[in-house]
Symmetry: C2
Subunit: 344 residues, 2 copies
């Protein structure tokens, strides 16, 4: 059988020779530096290296089940790296290490797995994080959907930094670094045959290099939250709830691409609840909002940054609303269920 | 609908109200202490607490896809805690924190999920580890097999301790703490209708309290490796390969239950390649083997501990063999593929 025709079999997850060959030839070749090459049951990381960067370990985990596996702007491999490192970055942590665990459906083409693992390795290299430990499981045909990836991230939070979704205060400004809903719209276009020629691509990107200079220079950042599942509306609603304040967005300030708006109108979706994978909301004290905005606009991932709203008095805790161009105010209610399944 | 009839829906993984209700009512109730309750995107753990225990962070990850979800002696929840903490313990690490990520198939009964999450919480409590961060994804019916769980473990390795699968030396003794193959045999009995009335139960257990006293008292421990996928034969073969030595086991010293032997004879399986989930191999210098054996036998998880073989000269690197009761020597070859899929 030619390499192009090879597929993953149950033997690749069984702990025997086939599994070790797959680990050696595919995973170690792609990710192999440092602890992973030792092939011990656990990576061993010097605590002194961590302590030199801060005083708290940050730990976060995400499983990725996106369908399709590849979409404009990214794939499940890139997403699995960026998604987890963003969950570290929004806590102010410097992302350092990742674990990577694969659940593979029997029959997955080997060349596809190689491509996705290669994309993952590239995203990790670009972000300066190391994949230090991993796991491979294979389940029978029909018992998973091609490939699921879990990544768990370890980072370090600098001493003195304390971001929390519970710390937004009335008068604070709300910023975003880019367009709303690109990831959700791109995945939807890749999945459904909507007869639309899409120029939309996922915004999938690692945000720590965008975030860290603002944290270093602006002491008035209250919190950051990447707007993934649940979208920008979802995370702002969480911040409003945890901080017991209201948040009001200004509709005409929201950076949304016309293609995304058109798609949402067609399907009856609200772009504020579409997922993003390279976009974060930031709440910051009013005095430093313009400075932060300027910093973001100077970074490639923040070119389209905007101040999109403000934090209101706690008279309406958890309330998220939208000021329309005509001066009206519309309440934004987080949907109970979903707009789109499996977008990350 | 009564609580007993409720099932997981796609809405429970969509980032909206249903997901937050599931997290609050099920996961936070079961696991909730400390960082998880903060509901930030990342757990924050003081580095000073880690540094007080050692000089290296240990990090390990495993996804669990066992079928069936419940079996005699355990379930996927208990397995997901014990399996990962054992991967820390065999490196000499004190297990401290776990992440927990769930991929749930739409339609999973809520009461079953509650039972499995409860089992996970109980295993973590017993082991003294905290579940500090998590994730929930739901995929459509038919796109996963009921439930997969990933856990990533963080521990700390005491200064001066350096175990490695590459450090076995000729003359070293090989010990195991319990019966060979119990987990694999129990899962097989739970899965197949073999017409056997099984008294077999999985050995699923956390081993750190068995391992740590031996490491504290015996400086001659070369390495430990829990004998999960690939079984005892698989891990000893890895040790022999990494250390470039041979390992010879004494068949009559192997602790194997008669029921396991009977099942293996019926199905043509080799018990040395059956999975275990509460059993570790240890390689130790000959002078301390009896002392370590006595320590293990004094612990409930080591009552059936035995010295089962020894490390041979490097003339046959990676060679694993079995001395039969009749004085012959049989070569043990790790199977390329699998004896049993999805045993962990």
């Amino acid at each position: 059988m030619s390499r192009k025709e090879q597929t993953i079999t149950l033997a690749h997850g069984a702990g025997g020779g086939a599994m070790h060959a797959l680990i050696d030839e595919l995973f170690l070749t792609a990710f192999g530096d440092g602890p992973l090459l030792q092939k011990e049951d656990q990576a061993r990381l010097p605590l002194a290296d961590l302590l030199a960067r801060g005083d708290r370990l940050a730990l976060t985990t995400d499983s990725f089940v996106v369908s399709p596996l590849e979409f404009p702007g990214g794939d499940i491999g890139k997403l699995a790296v960026c998604g987890t490192l963003n969950d570290l970055a929004v806590g102010g942590a410097m992302p350092l290490y990742l674990s990577a665990a694969f659940i593979i459906e029997e029959g997955l083409p080997l060349v596809l797995l190689e491509r996705l693992v290669g994309s993952m390795a590239e995203a990790a290299r670009e972000a300066g994080v190391s994949i230090v430990t991993g796991d491979t499981k294979v389940v029978e045909r029909g018992m998973a959907d091609k490939l699921f990836i879990n990544t768990t991230g370890v980072g370090v939070i600098p001493a003195g930094l304390s971001l929390s979704i519970g710390s937004a205060r009335p008068g604070d400004q709300v910023l975003v670094n880019g367009h709303v809903g690109d990831h959700g719209a791109a995945v939807m276009l890749a999945r459904e045959d909507l007869g639309l020629v899409g120029e939309l691509a996922s915004d999938c990107a690692g945000l720590h290099e965008l975030i860290q200079p603002v944290l270093a220079q602006c002491s008035g950042v209250r919190c950051l939250r990447d707007a993934t599942r649940g979208g920008l509306g979802g995370v702002l609603s969480e911040i409003a709830g945890a901080s017991e304040v209201g948040i009001r967005l200004i509709e005409r300030e929201l950076p949304i691409r016309p293609q995304t708006l058109a798609l949402c109108e067609l399907l009856g979706l609200e772009p504020l609840f579409l997922a993003n994978e390279g976009m974060t909301a930031m709440v910051i004290c009013p005095e430093q909002a313009e400075q932060a905005l300027a910093l973001w606009r100077g970074h490639p991932l923040g070119r389209h940054a905007r101040i999109i709203g403000e934090v209101l008095a706690p008279s309406s805790p958890g309330r998220l609303s939208l000021l329309t161009p005509y001066g009206g105010e519309r309440l934004l209610e987080v949907p109970h269920g979903l707009q789109l399944p499996r977008i990350c």
